[in-house]
């Protein structure tokens, strides 16, 4: 067993420096690596390029890094929940690249899987296609998209073991598996970190080969963005 366990979030984030590109898992506030984000705020790394589906809300998730003006550029598919984000974008302080969600996911997966580029129909005929190679396959137009390049990928899983194997829960899975191994170094923060052999190999979603560092998060607030319920009849 190759042991990937590190003892603290500080140790896990070692080597993250100004101007780096960092991928972060999560959809909205669901399944975000919240301990790592809190540590990035403390660390104060600046001019970061962040690849993440969303940009958090004003006071949680990546919104915390935006507040501290640590992000130079965001690559996301949807940023609608964040007023500070909108302000920084409209004032020109923040560079933003909006890309289709499936393209975002596939550009992560391509980086993970050693595929340099791929063709997708998403965005054909729109401003997303500007400057991109267009090709027709089976009578339908497609545009070429490239794999991401990132210095670090930071993901959040439910359970992990010391070998770096991961299991995700519910829709907190989202972009996290796609980002494993898609950066030069992948950091996994988990709710439960178990000795190797504790997880059933049949149930592992992501094998530890894609993970360089794994640590147990101190606390997971798991904030809910839109609490919707129904009344008991």
């Amino acid at each position: 067993m190759i042991n990937k366990k590190v003892n603290s979030v500080q140790e896990a984030l070692h080597g993250i420096e100004d101007n780096m590109t960092i991928m972060l898992g999560g959809f909205g506030l669901c399944g975000i690596p919240e301990n790592s984000i809190a540590e990035l705020v403390k660390k104060g790394s600046k001019n970061l390029t962040c690849i993440s589906n969303n940009a958090g809300v004003d006071d949680f998730g990546l919104g915390l890094l935006l507040q501290q003006k640590q992000i130079k550029k965001m690559i996301s598919s949807y940023v609608g929940e964040n007023a500070e984000f909108e302000r920084q974008m409209l004032s020109g302080e923040l560079d933003v690249e909006l890309i289709p969600q499936g393209t975002l996911a596939e550009r992560c997966r391509a980086a993970q899987a050693g595929i340099p580029a791929f063709f997708t129909p998403a965005g054909y005929g729109t401003e997303v296609a500007e400057g991109k190679e267009v090709r027709e396959f089976n009578g339908k137009m497609h545009i070429m998209e490239h794999a991401f390049k990132a210095d670090f990928a930071i993901v959040k899983a439910w359970k992990g073991d010391e070998a770096g194997n991961l299991i995700f829960k519910g829709t907190a899975r989202n972009f996290n598996p796609c980002m494993c191994g898609a950066g030069k170094i992948t950091i996994a923060e988990v709710e439960e970190l178990l000795p190797a052999g504790s997880l059933n190999p049949n149930e592992i979603h992501i094998p530890g080969i894609l993970i360089q560092r794994i640590f147990k998060g101190d606390k997971f607030e798991k904030r809910i963005e839109q609490r919707t319920t129904r009344k008991k009849a």
Binding site: L29, A122, T229
Partner: protein, 219 residues
């Protein structure tokens, strides 16, 4: 009477057939789930990674790890499954989802749709909409016929940045059901009590009108 949002959802629910996997967008499309016939088998997909979505949870039973694409807390039904985002969009691009229902700001007579950006005013992002409209075979748009200023959103040509080209098949609004044909918008049905003349006056695009136009059945 023009329909309200729930009535639009009720009318669209009639397009959902037995055995369909359906992706519902945010807004009116989400309401469609409430009106699908209970005697047919349908599974709802949410692009953040779930098939077999159920209703909202009971108070106190919300799970932060279980949300839909609108970030709302949800539940799952028997037979549900979870998957990652790349897999989810593989399912969408691979045309395994039978029906996509989404909202729009504008639709044009050749089936173009605009729903993600108002330059200088609103830039929230396209989310999964571009992938969905570029891939799905069967796309129904749920939208209001006119905007708050009373201007038609059913156009000869979209004025806003496009989300996808030549993809919309059908549009259901508070006034009408429209089909997009190679020759443009064809008026299929009108809202109860709404005249064909009213619909023509509320629509910038030309309408193809053949014979008597029936009223929508929404119950």
């Amino acid at each position: 009477m023009a329909l309200d949002k729930n009535d639009i959802a009720k009318r669209i629910a009639k397009e959902v057939k037995d055995g369909y996997y359906v992706n519902l967008g945010i807004g009116i499309p989400t309401l469609v789930a409430n009106y699908v016939r209970t005697d047919i088998s349908v599974e709802f997909q949410s692009e953040n990674g779930v098939l077999g979505m159920g209703p909202f949870p009971f108070e106190g039973e919300e799970d932060a790890d279980l949300i839909n694409a609108g970030k709302q807390t949800i539940t799952t039904l028997p037979g549900a499954s979870f998957f990652d985002s790349a897999f989810s969009f593989g399912m969408i691009r691979g045309q395994h989802v039978d029906l996509t229902i989404l909202g729009a700001m504008e639709v044009s007579e050749n089936g173009d749709i605009a729903n993600w950006k108002i330059p200088g005013k609103m830039v929230k992002g396209m989310g999964g909409a571009m992938d969905l409209v570029a891939s799905a075979e069967n796309i129904i748009v749920a939208m209001m016929h006119v905007n708050k200023a009373g201007e038609s959103k059913i156009l000869k040509k979209c004025s806003l940045p496009l989300t996808g080209v030549g993809c919309v098949k059908k549009v259901v609004t508070e006034l009408a059901v429209l089909e997009i044909t190679p020759k443009g918008f064809k008026l299929l049905e009108r809202a109860p009590g709404i005249s064909v003349e009213h619909i023509i006056a509320s629509t910038e695009a030309e309408l193809i009108i053949e014979g008597e136009i029936p009223e929508m059945a929404i119950d």
